[in-house]
Symmetry: C2
Subunit: 418 residues, 2 copies
């Protein structure tokens, strides 16, 4: 490939924005490979510097030396609630309403099943036809088991749908961010609409937690789930989380009545009595090493104002969309992420028929993005470590890959990740 | 406390047995604290020497440097099936029938729900009144949701129960080992009895996998689950496993239809189509670090004949029961583990009203056992690292703790582990 040429105005703009970035120092909290442009933190967050020493201690001193006693002495037993509260601080949840553990899919099953039971006599479960697959699949599974019916309603159509059938809706299950396009929906408006219809609302915060300020308590959100490995950078397959508003705790009936959610787990009682509070949403023995890694990862947010994170994130994606307009639109790329900042999550997505091959070629050029079949390239930003220069570099290298036709136009092979 | 005095015959017997132990070299595969007698591997296995380097590589090179690409290049995506097959080798399962991930409780929910669906029209779910709490709680939850009824039938009473109501039983859910007493049940006989009644059998192998030879394929077991952190030593809260016999794969309907169990997960299809084979039991994004730690831990079994493990395990518990008879019975301890080797798992349990305080006092003396409320002390052995000397030391120190009254007779506080 020919040497990358960055158009001077874009390069200078990026340099100026990076020089003025009040969050620039946070990049040191991540162990990013030298020279790599990493724009896939919305799929797998990079390694926070705080994680390796915590894991080493957890493995050698806690597991290796202190062994079983660590359940008490190193706080293993309380980790799901402690880490849950740490996530809660990032999503606007007061303590005692969030638990960490299991996968997002398991938490969704719990949340959807419990939500439906909190609204008996309402047979509809509303989800987004563009929702992430696991959300849609679990909604269908739960509906089938609970005698409910799923209705797929896009967020912009929710008000109209609720006007017609709102009194039949048990729960509205949405994500504030479309995982493909990066479009941001209005959580407050959608939550309000669901509540006016008497329905509960369940938010999947996988693409939101840690990316911008969230106010689940203030908005009166009923339930929320999310993963630990995207903007929270908790590591591959890091534990997920479940938030249930305190007002629902007393009536919360979970399907997965594992022993750690019992009111008195070590009494080994014959029958299940749910623990008070969010602890009843605990299931089995928690994955301690993964939980402690996630807990360490969350320290990257210490002292960080998520409003500042949001501001920088929009600056990053805004600059990228400008680059895309100038450098990539003429080459056949279509930006599908809204240019309106109020409607933009923390990623920018471009449509191109050869998305898979282009992402592979970009990786060879030191720019990691990802794609979603069949034709979307995704560029995720995390204001804790992404720079404006990263955005310009990504756009310029993508331009050069296309210009020099240095990529394979074949589609994504089955079972191949990104 | 006064200096420990070991009765010469017991000490000499232990020394002789250890000197002749063909598995003695395996102890080096574990990083056990110097001088500690660890008899709680049936609750949390110790740290295998193979784990730290694997985790360091997984964290720094795979997550830290190679980032998202590791899903392909370091086999993260296939880890649940690859580690599942590694567990399969220890339980007598041919490849392609075992998946690793989630917790035992989640796997039990899947297994019980799927098993009930495989035997429609049969309204009974049989479980052991002495089964581990999570098994009992999840049986009740699944039964309530599926319109079934739980019958608590002790393994010795199963034949008689099935003679009366066998044609109404969908699934028999048992553990081969009573987690409190260490009593071992006859898996072949119980599996045969369930099958003759037309029921399926689901075995919880938490206290069996890695402890002695298992033959799930040969016995025609239908489903099995187990944890990764007891005899498999995969670390605190290590991923669990689910085995489903191949003959059931085509009809297997799982409740937790997470996206990774889809036939084509990256197509992000609108509807759920289960993957062929055991892969359909995958749920959410797998906890990679924990899975790789478990995979490394399983290498401790390389070249190990589980028949030899069983032989040594019985020798260890047998010697302990002899010590208990000589040293502890006169002090008020009652051995509740069967003296018949054919009926003994890989632990010995003693009854004493001050079990909690005694276990704490023993820990202060460098002997880690555990207890189950209200009055059982458990001494788990793992032939890969436990020595006969450990058994004699444990019994002698327990004798001395009682003799000198150097313990607190208070019961186990709520929420306190061991």
């Amino acid at each position: 490939m020919t040497t990358t040429t960055v158009p001077a105005p874009l390069g200078e703009e990026a340099a100026r924005l990076d020089a003025d970035d009040p969050l620039a120092h946070l990049r040191e909290r991540f162990l990013l490979p030298e020279g790599l442009v990493y724009l896939d933190g919305n799929s797998l967050g990079p390694l926070p510097a705080a994680v390796p020493p915590v894991l080493t201690d957890a493995v050698h001193r806690q597991w290796g030396a202190d062994l079983i006693r660590s359940w008490n002495t190193h706080g293993w037993w309380d980790a799901p609630l402690r880490v849950g509260d740490a996530v809660g601080r990032l999503i606007g949840a007061a303590p005692g309403q969030t638990v960490a553990g299991d996968s997002t899919s398991v938490q969704l099953f719990t949340a959807l099943t419990a939500a439906a039971a909190l609204r008996p006599g309402r047979p509809l479960l509303v989800t987004d036809p563009g929702h992430f697959p696991t959300d849609r699949y679990l909604a269908e599974s739960v509906a089938g088991r609970e005698g409910l019916e799923v209705r797929r309603v896009s967020p912009p159509d929710l008000e109209a749908f609720l006007a017609a059938e709102g009194d039949r809706v048990a729960v509205v299950s949405y994500s504030p961010v479309d995982y493909r396009t990066g479009e941001l929906y209005d959580m407050a408006a959608l939550t309000g609409a669901a509540h006016r219809a008497g329905a509960l609302v369940l938010w999947d915060l996988c693409h939101a937690a840690g990316a911008f300020p969230l106010r689940v308590d203030d908005l009166g959100v009923d339930l929320a789930v999310g993963c630990g490995y995207k903007f929270l950078s908790g590591g591959p397959g890091a534990p997920a989380f479940l938030y249930v508003a305190r007002r629902h705790h007393g009536d919360l009936v979970t399907p997965l009545t594992g022993w750690t959610g019992h009111a008195d787990p070590f009494a080994m009682a014959a029958d299940y009595t749910p623990a008070p509070g969010i602890a009843r949403a605990r299931i089995g023995t928690p994955p301690v090493l993964s939980l402690l890694a996630l807990e360490a990862a969350l320290t990257a947010f210490e002292g960080v104002d998520l409003a500042e994170v949001r501001k920088k994130s929009l600056s990053l994606t805004g600059l990228f969309l400008r680059c895309a307009d100038e450098l990539l639109a003429p080459l056949g790329f279509e930006a599908v992420t809204p240019s309106d900042p109020a409607r933009r999550g923390s990623q920018a997505a471009l449509r191109h028929p050869h998305a898979y091959g282009l992402v592979q070629a970009l990786a060879d050029q030191g720019v990691i993005a990802d794609m979603r079949a069949p034709d979307l390239l995704r560029f995720g930003v995390n204001a804790l470590y992404t720079t404006h220069r990263d955005m310009v570099t990504a756009a310029v290298r993508l331009r050069d890959v296309v210009r020099t036709a240095a990529y394979d136009p074949a589609p994504q092979p089955t079972g191949r990740v990104v």
